[in-house]
Symmetry: D2
Subunit: 404 residues, 4 copies
């Protein structure tokens, strides 16, 4: 009996996560991966759900754990997955979020404009691969859907991928919003592969419905909760304000981190140097910056920073109809009067916008149900299913945020 | 029907926490209280237990929730607790940890030497009280055990207080270490008041035993886990190194936060100005500082900071016997050779120390069991109880940390 | 300090259930109530979900516990509920199922034809009340909706009553079908009373949606699961067969219990004597009878009984369309051939039927949402709600059962 | 891709249990195994813990599930377990309790005197094996510890076997007594095999301690709870009374089940005919008999039966010292007076006895800890361990039961 190196990690959601392959150990030990410890999975949702402070590192470990289970389950059903493919698909899920920056989705389009986090993930994976003698080759092929077994890619990115499965389970666990609990273990048991595509067994229909409903609930109750939205918009407005008043010699805006670079000279080209700088950023830099800026002479900047630190957020509302422009105008005028600001700056204190969520997107990716008789049907086309064509249209809502 | 303002907060551990009194709302809204959001309850334990990232704010909210339950339970048993006392004891538990600094216990004796966090809590409560027209008077009396009903103080600070009840439940929940789960709800149901002292009903003996065993397990498995200890010692060593090389004009040590003050000019007197600075500190300042210092020219400082950021911690061991001085000497020499450092600095890379834990302290505070026939007995004196005199002696262990 | 008699009961679903009023103690101690220990809440669902063996007694205790919470919650919101009303509504929910016979719903229409269990519950409550000096007067008024505060009745019987809230939570807990988990605690927190009617706060919409979806899932996944249905139909067929071949002098059909009376001389009048006999029946009588009948000379009876005992159930199928009569005929012929039975008896071995479930019934009872601005809307009329008019139509399905 | 027959069973404790081997399917389908559905795992503990109604069938399925995990874990650590051994050890654990009679431990020594349930399990396994072409040969070898790899037997029967692991987890789950929760998944992860013996890794010490403490707590809080004990003694006394007054022609004692045989003509020889009769018995027979006997003319028998049915149990007490004989005498006289019974029969209404539990038995089976350096130590010999020599002595307590 000869034991390979093994490690178990305690996870409050799944119990234990087992690490037992050198490549997985190497990824975990990498500074780029360790950085994910310092990025909150749910950004500022913690201002409403104080338990929701888990890290992206734990989310990606969780997704890796589900992938281990999915691979074991599919193999037990006779699907052929080689040892090499197994390790590669696990490495890929572990790295699927490696490109996330501080406060993830909240800041994505503000910090590094025009670059999507999935593109960054790929760039970083390639960079890591270059230093790992190509050990990530197959993982990258699967990640970019260029491998011959599409179901492996679908386990990473698809309607029922391990990413979604974990973030719904984990976010509802840590936020304490039980409405988001999905039966991830049951769905895993129901996965099948047919013509190299991932599908769900007939008797998994109700579990999939539950999953889609839970996702919808998490969107409206948590991710797009009006106060979460208000907090995240406040952080966005802070960065926008910094951008607007940025001057190279303003020492009061400098924060001793790569933020200085991204808010200043960075344009849009993510070259190797920029990428390395990006990989040094985490939530601490942003929150430290907010603390520094809370003492900056710019009135609006200091105001927003102090408000965020002390959780005195925008008052916000979400509704089905667009806000009346007259109403908005009144509110803007109130804000201008109350805070004695330049009317040209009112967009920092009062603004509207749109939020949207789709229960089930039929276009790109589909959830196919494999019936016992071999028939394949998209879940939205099944009789009496809860998820019908009509419901799969995106739901658009409108929000207003105002400082009072 | 007229509703007072009420708010419910989702908590993954207890479900919902209800806030329904203006004083409690006022405390929650205070910037000093909001600061606790940015302090990790379990410091660097997250480097071993990645789920253990919950904040002190959530811990104190949880302790408040248990206090609400305890008050309701005791009243239901006929214990007289007035509305004013009820609010005061809840305010006091909410504020019991308000004096914690960044990375709590880990840095307590390094950052603000000679000042205990409970003393700071009291100072801050008094400061808040001064601005709240004395609304916290009774809470402070209870907190300092100067109120006529000692059991109220015991609910805040004693062998079975709501603080311990919550931190054991919560820390084991978030770390995923089920060995620490206690039956907090059962213990609450078993609390009684006799001669104004808090006691436990006879049939609660097993629950109390379980609580004491769980606490012991959390100490050795989590709080004093060898790798958690290694991480926290690394942070301590970093601050010690900064202190040692500190010079006012070294811009590379400056971090744009009150850390600069506490590592520099602060002596030991916690005057109002220092207190205010203290109340601006949180974990972000420390971790940002570590990131800044990781590029400092001091080799040892930069080394330790980079190691901490990338989770390349000291190799550590814990054992029952003291470490042999010869062995330590060898290890020190290895470290000097490997890292080419001045032998005078070896204490940053290689050192030993003691850790201790007591299952049950019989001296100060006791857990009294109230028998049906009116007899009162300390739990350690009960026949066949698991927690016996012998076991209540402190357990001392020895550790070694070394960089490799 | 003077303590009333109090008792706490461990419940795996809610933790602890507290009993603290003499009337509640009296109900619990009553033999009619104790009988509910011997009746399975989920009848034969245990043949598919082996954990689902909890009793009606525990369900009614659970519903009582939720009622305690609901009353406390509503009072905390300013709803006036007197001590007397509080005890009465708790007594009423505790007794709401007292009229259930063995194997509950499964046998309801077979054992005591033409008498609904709610009518029996009322009769038994009246009978108990007669021996309790009218202590149940108010409980009975509330139960029969003749009391001046309709919301109290709605807590017992309505779209969001404590009965449904408990059975969904409990049945999904014991069966291990997490799809049925509802956020009962959140719904309780969202209940309000307006114009003496029970409503739900605006921000409870998602929780109510989740509740309705969970109920739908429990129907199709558990209550109407094809194998559960097959098992329960088998038990029904056994009793029908006994009825058919019943003769007073057939000692082989006698079972030494009140079953003998209900399968023999009982017609439809539930007089006091019959009621008392009914209250002596429980699941043990039925299962013992099945064991006795498994050795009866009647071939069909013995066959069905043995099959049930050994879990060799009908093969069954559920589908959206009615079964083809030609197909049914073929199957009948197969059964006749295989088991060598009289064609006139084939309905015991092969038969079809309908099962139906409604997601949300808009007719009788409604779930009203109370908006912050005072507006009241039925949940099915809310924009973008998941539960829409269209979905609230009943879903009818067809099943076939056949012995093979 | 070719799928073997697979089935998943919902279990509230572990989520899903997977069945995927023909031999396991065959065992599950066997009438002797299905009988275990009708035997309560915790006998009459349900009269105190109303949730504790789970069946022996579910317990053995759960132990099987843990065995699947243990085998996978050990294999992952390099322990060689062939496919044949794997199936055999799973079959053996599934059948380890097949010899339990109605109300298990409660009635074991009353119904079939002088025959231990493990011996019966073996006899029944051999009987089943005879009809299964020897498919159980290896399972029986392992069960009887005659196989060359003792650790396989230890997984079925030893200090840390899957039987104990499941019953502690399951019994605490269903009873709602969280004090009994063990970290079964962590213990499984810590199992190792050394010299073909089952051991525990060094870092599993605390989990094992927790397990032993939890077991102790379950004994005193649940299995030997004074009211559980009172209920089970009442059932024992009922059967003893029947035995005493038994006459072949007393129709009022006949119950139409194999009970008639075991209470009447059965002596001690468990021949094939008796074995078959035994395998027809379940809890329904006993409870039906109690209902029949509650109307028997024998006053004591009817009294005890009615009391049990209506949960009017003996008043009981458990204490560390033996009961005073004078005190017992007084109580006996009270009972004789109150119930007007023949003094010779007082032992049915008033009696004392002993109950004992051992935290850790050092004699027969040991829990060996395997240290990293290869050292092996019994857990009771480890420094500072909670479980010490002294504590491993059996704890004996005394009880009294009396009808009032």
């Amino acid at each position: 009996m000869k034991a390979t190196k093994r490690k178990i990690i305690n996870d409050p959601v799944y119990g234990f996560i087992t690490i037992n392959h050198p490549l997985i150990f190497a990824i975990l030990a990498h500074p780029y991966y360790q950085r994910l410890r310092r990025i909150h999975q749910m950004a500022l949702a913690q201002l409403v759900y104080p338990g929701a402070v888990h890290s992206r590192l734990l989310h990606s470990l969780g997704a890796y754990h589900l992938m281990c289970n999915a691979v074991a389950e599919l193999r037990d059903k006779g699907v052929e997955i080689s040892e090499e493919e197994s390790v590669a698909v696990k490495a890929a899920i572990l790295l699927h979020d490696i490109g996330h920056g501080p406060y993830s989705h909240a800041l994505e389009q503000v910090l590094v404009q025009g670059v999507h986090h999935e593109q960054l993930s790929l760039q970083i994976m390639q960079e890591m691969n270059a230093h790992m003698n190509g050990d990530l080759d197959l993982a990258i092929q699967i990640f970019t859907n260029q491998y011959s077994k599409p179901f492996l890619h679908q386990l990473i990115s698809g309607q029922l991928d391990m990413d979604r499965m974990d973030y719904l389970s984990r976010d509802s666990f840590f936020s304490g919003v039980t409405e988001g609990v999905i039966g991830y273990d049951r769905i895993l048991k129901m996965l099948v592969v047919h013509n190299d595509e991932l599908m769900v067994e007939e008797k998994g229909i109700y579990s999939v419905e539950k999953f889609l409903v839970a996702r919808r609930q998490m969107y409206w109750q948590v991710y797009l909760h009006k106060t979460v939205l208000a907090a995240e918009k406040m952080l966005v407005k802070i960065l926008e304000r910094v951008r607007e008043i940025y001057q190279l010699n303003d020492e009061g805006l400098k924060t001793q981190s790569a933020l200085d670079f991204f808010l200043g000279e960075f344009k849009t080209e993510m070259n190797l140097d920029a990428l390395e700088k990006f990989c040094s950023l985490d939530d601490h830099d942003v929150m430290h910056a907010v603390k520094v800026w809370s003492k900056h002479p710019d009135k609006i900047l200091a105001l927003l920073c102090n408000r965020l630190l002390n959780r005195q957020l925008y008052r916000s509302r979400i509704q089905a109809e667009e806000f009346d422009s007259q109403y908005l105008k009144e509110k803007e005028e109130e804000a201008i009067r109350q805070f004695h600001i330049d009317p040209a700056d009112v967009r920092y204190l009062c603004f509207t916008g749109e939020a949207s969520n789709t229960l089930y997107q039929t276009k790109d990716e589909r959830i196919n149900i494999l019936f016992k008789d071999g028939l394949i049907k998209d879940i939205s086309l099944i009789d009496n299913a809860l998820i019908q064509q009509k419901l799969s249209a995106p739901v658009k809502k409108f929000y207003i945020c105002l400082l009072t």
